[in-house]
């Protein structure tokens, strides 16, 4: 497909990797923020192309992974209510709550449906006026315009049997939280390209200046990521700390203004708890007062208890880039994508699941990692 295939070419990747080797003279640790980028990096073995000076660590940018267990439990409790049709993107269904997943509750008879777009859930609400349609509004800034539009449209059309369970998170506060950690070892960020398609990169400029850290808005294909690494390393080597845009074909400085306006109309910034990290101030979105009638948490006051995370899981350290997935004793044994102990093993975009799926293990007797066969079960 055009604008995808050419960015996966091996010859060009090799050429870019050589350019990185020529640029990098000192050891640098870079974090890619988005889970989609993590997936590409691990799947295409990009880390093997990079010189030993460059370490890539994987950020918390998987909204599926960072949705708190309490909210998953809430979604399951709402889905189990008689007369409800619970709609979600496919990747939320397998996420384990404290005792089961949405897929489990579907298997025991609840009407849980996978939708491609939040507008499909609005369509269901029109088609089944006597049922309650609840949409699991999960995502980063990339997904917020779509979810905002669904609520806005339902309100405009006077659709009363539609509501959303909001689990929206924002990228810049999470980056700041990582930088503020006393153990932070990140020298530069590859910012999430599609988040910036919506938001632009103006809000990253103060972060880059305050922490003196290069931030490169980066795309999702192998060549995008290699070029992003090259641009970040060039900044580090030259002692610069700026926001640059690698993903020029899709991202403009100001982002998508109509999308931002719709988000701001429907949502407001609020504190949010991140699975594996904890609460980060002003790091999420909730419905504005005017749209509060569409809030599933208010419409269905289902009680769920506070949930303890597995004490063995080191998700918090992995999500902040302090540990690699294979440094966890449970990785690939007691914790697998089928039976995950924690957030990053949950979705294929989580760092642990990506390492598990594409067989990334440390190379014996060496600091660097080489791919090996997927662990057998």
């Amino acid at each position: 497909m055009k604008f995808l295939d050419e960015y996966r070419e091996s010859a060009t990747a090799t050429q870019l990797a050589r350019l990185i080797r020529e640029t990098a003279h000192r050891p640098w640790t870079l974090m890619e923020v988005c889970g989609g980028q993590t997936h590409t990096i691990v799947k295409s073995g990009l880390m093997d192309l990079l010189p030993s000076e460059i370490t890539l660590v994987h950020g918390p940018g998987c909204p599926v992974c960072v949705t708190p267990v309490e909210l998953i439990d809430k979604s399951i409790a709402i889905a189990a209510l008689p007369g409800t049709i619970f709609c979600s993107f496919g990747d939320m269904l397998r996420v384990p709550g404290s005792s089961k997943s949405l897929l489990d509750v579907k298997a025991s008879g609840a009407d849980v449906r996978i939708v491609y777009s939040p507008l499909d859930a609005v369509k269901l609400a029109r088609a089944y006026p006597s049922r309650e349609i609840v949409f699991f509004a999960v995502g980063f800034e990339t997904t917020a315009p779509a979810n905002a539009m669904a609520v806005w449209q339902a309100e405009r059309e006077g659709i009363r049997n539609f509501s959303v369970l909001v689990a929206h998170v924002l990228v810049p506060p999470a980056m700041e939280a990582i930088l503020a950690s006393p153990n932070c070892r990140i020298h530069a960020f590859l910012a999430a390209g599609h988040v910036c398609t919506v938001m632009g990169w103006e809000e990253y400029e103060p972060i880059s200046q305050r922490w003196h850290v290069p931030i490169v808005v980066t795309g999702f294909e192998p060549l995008d990521l290699l070029e992003g690494v090259q641009m970040a390393v060039a900044q580090l080597e030259q002692g610069r700390a700026e926001v640059e845009n690698q993903y020029r074909r899709a991202v403009r400085r100001e982002g998508n203004r109509p999308a931002q306006a719709r988000i701001a109309e429907v949502f407001e910034v609020a504190p949010r708890k991140w699975r594996g990290i904890g609460e980060i101030p002003l790091s999420g979105l909730r419905l504005r007062e005017r749209y509060r009638a569409f809030d599933a948490e208010e419409r269905f006051p289902v009680g769920v208890g506070v949930v303890e995370e597995s004490s063995e899981c080191i998700a918090g350290l992995v999500l902040q880039g302090l540990k690699k997935p294979f440094e966890c004793p449970a990785f690939g044994t007691r914790c697998t994508p089928e039976f995950p102990l924690g957030a990053p093993m949950v979705s294929s975009e989580g760092a642990c699941a990506a390492y598990y799926l594409y067989g990334r293990r440390p190379c014996e007797g060496s600091e660097s990692e080489l791919p090996s066969a997927a662990p057998s079960r």
Binding site: G35, F89, D91, A146, H194, A250
Partner: protein, 83 residues
């Protein structure tokens, strides 16, 4: 989750009483209906970046080529300089 796929806008859907512009987008042979509310500038023939049924950005085709041009120039330069 933040997956967005570029596809070619092949036609606009004009209907009465619609809340926003929509179009048919071709993803390597698969046609999908996409909401164009956030990219009002998108015209038939443009490539748009689509996430959960919404076009978020029109692909800048000139920018898309730049990395390949830069790398080609570097290669030519190296050939001129010799080993």
């Amino acid at each position: 989750m933040c997956l967005a796929v570029p596809g070619k806008l092949v036609s606009l859907i004009e209907e009465e009483g619609l809340n926003f512009r929509r179009g048919k987008v071709d993803f390597g042979g698969v046609l999908k209906e996409v909401c164009l509310a956030y990219t009002p500038e998108a015209a038939v023939g443009d490539y748009v970046l689509v996430h959960v049924g919404f076009s978020l950005s029109v692909v800048d085709q000139a920018e898309a080529q730049k990395i390949f041009e830069t790398l080609r120039e570097m290669e030519q330069l190296e050939e001129l300089e010799g080993p």
